[in-house]
Symmetry: C2
Subunit: 267 residues, 2 copies
């Protein structure tokens, strides 16, 4: 339980003060927060809310989107927000192909350069940039980084305290190279965040909101948890599920079920 | 034009005799056929129809589904059908996880063993089994073989005349290892079929019917065609698109547009 963290996206419509109170009541000690929510509530106010409740902010989701105009300023703002919240890791989703482009190699190379440009700022802020590989079904429109190997290769030129990776079971479970890459991520001290969701089918239109709570799908979640542990990772385990039918339910009910499933299928 | 082949799935509702006549009128010399269609029309009758029209049957789609009861008999029947049609390649889609299973490694291993069991029968029939890697978004429910590297590794223990691979742009475009694996496939004489479709988003619910005609999406189709050529492949280039809005249109209209797009984006 002490490693469990509730990613805010799992209980998307639970207002932040209620979420914080609900976590405290349930004995949860960490939360992963989202930029749009902390911006709406106020960054400093959000930071104070979590701090006063004794909750660690385990990650801030998310920035990146390096094909958008103004990506550099936007990412620096996100780094500032992560620092203000005391979040050790800022999750980066790289964005897809630029409009009209078919050049995925160039898009991936640009992601590496863009991250490099943010490294000094991240080091100054004490925030680790966490490159997230998204499932290849998002490669064209959301994230050209599709495997843990790609994420680690992009991180490689930079110091580990500035650039790490996210290991997200939902995005990586299908990849038979993931186990050796998790071990590599540990050796290279790059594991910035470990996020858990399950894979369920059929996928909904748009494929974004089709995740399952832990244990409701086909991912070997415990195998992932044991692999990150074996790689030397001792940090938080965030449950992050995007699903309309989960969002439709009361936050506390979802949190309680998530904790039960986490105990059964993850730890 | 002489390498172009129309995969029947692109014009799904075009009855076989009309499809054959339409291909002949358009100067097309090859078709890829589907088992349910040739079974409905009659296997021998379908073979005669294509032969009498001077059309080569470039592949038969599809068999595999090795987690189903009776897979061995069903796959032998498919090999017989391919032989009857004179199709050099039988496309194998491996099937997903067995019901209730989370063990994707075991499912992949079983695919390799099942293919091995079919090798003598395929050699006798003169049909090459063509392992198709499907996009990782199908890994749980349709095909546990997710990359060209996996397909080639599964084929490796068996003679190339018995077991090859399909290179399908739709399924493989996101993979940065695909180029070295295409070269490997050529070296190992495993390229049994080259199929072309484009990647378009947003994906529809269920994600099966979201493909685009060549040039309507983000795949570097010409780069793929040049890569298979450079690997020594000189066989047919099938266009295979599953999309409700394409299926809703008259077959001949779709064929003419496909030919135009093929000339512009593939050759």
């Amino acid at each position: 339980m002490k490693r469990f963290s509730l990613n805010q996206a799992t209980t998307k419509h639970w207002p932040l003060p209620e979420l914080v109170a609900g976590c405290v009541e349930a004995g949860v000690t960490g939360v992963g927060l989202w930029r749009e929510d902390i911006q709406a509530y106020g960054v400093q106010k959000s930071a104070a809310l979590a701090r006063d409740a004794g909750l660690a902010v385990t990650s801030l989701c998310r920035s990146g989107f390096f094909q958008e105009p103004g990506w550099e300023e936007e990412n620096k703002r996100a780094i500032d927000e992560a620092a203000a919240l005391g979040a050790p890791a800022l999750v980066l989703v790289s964005g897809g192909l630029p409009p009209g482009s078919r050049d995925v190699d160039a898009a991936r190379a640009h992601v590496g350069e863009a991250i490099g440009a943010l490294v000094p700022y991240a080091l100054d802020a004490g925030v680790q940039l966490a490159i997230e590989a998204l499932h290849p079904m998002f490669a064209s429109d959301r994230c050209v980084v599709s495997t843990l190997k790609q994420a680690l290769d992009l991180a490689a030129p930079y110091p580990a305290e500035a650039v790490g990776v996210v290991i997200d079971t939902y995005h990586l479970w299908w990849d038979d190279a993931v186990w050796e890459q998790i071990a590599r991520a540990g050796r290279e001290r790059r594991i910035a965040s470990f996020q858990v969701a399950d894979w369920v089918t059929p996928l909904p239109a748009g494929v974004l909101l089709g995740r399952g709570l832990p244990g409701t799908g086909c991912v070997e979640l415990r195998r992932f948890r044991e692999a990150v542990d074996a790689a030397g990772y001792t940090g938080p385990i965030e449950v992050e599920v995007f699903a309309e039918e989960v969002w439709a339910r009361p936050g506390r009910e979802v949190l309680d079920e998530t904790l039960e499933l986490y105990r059964t299928h993850v730890v």
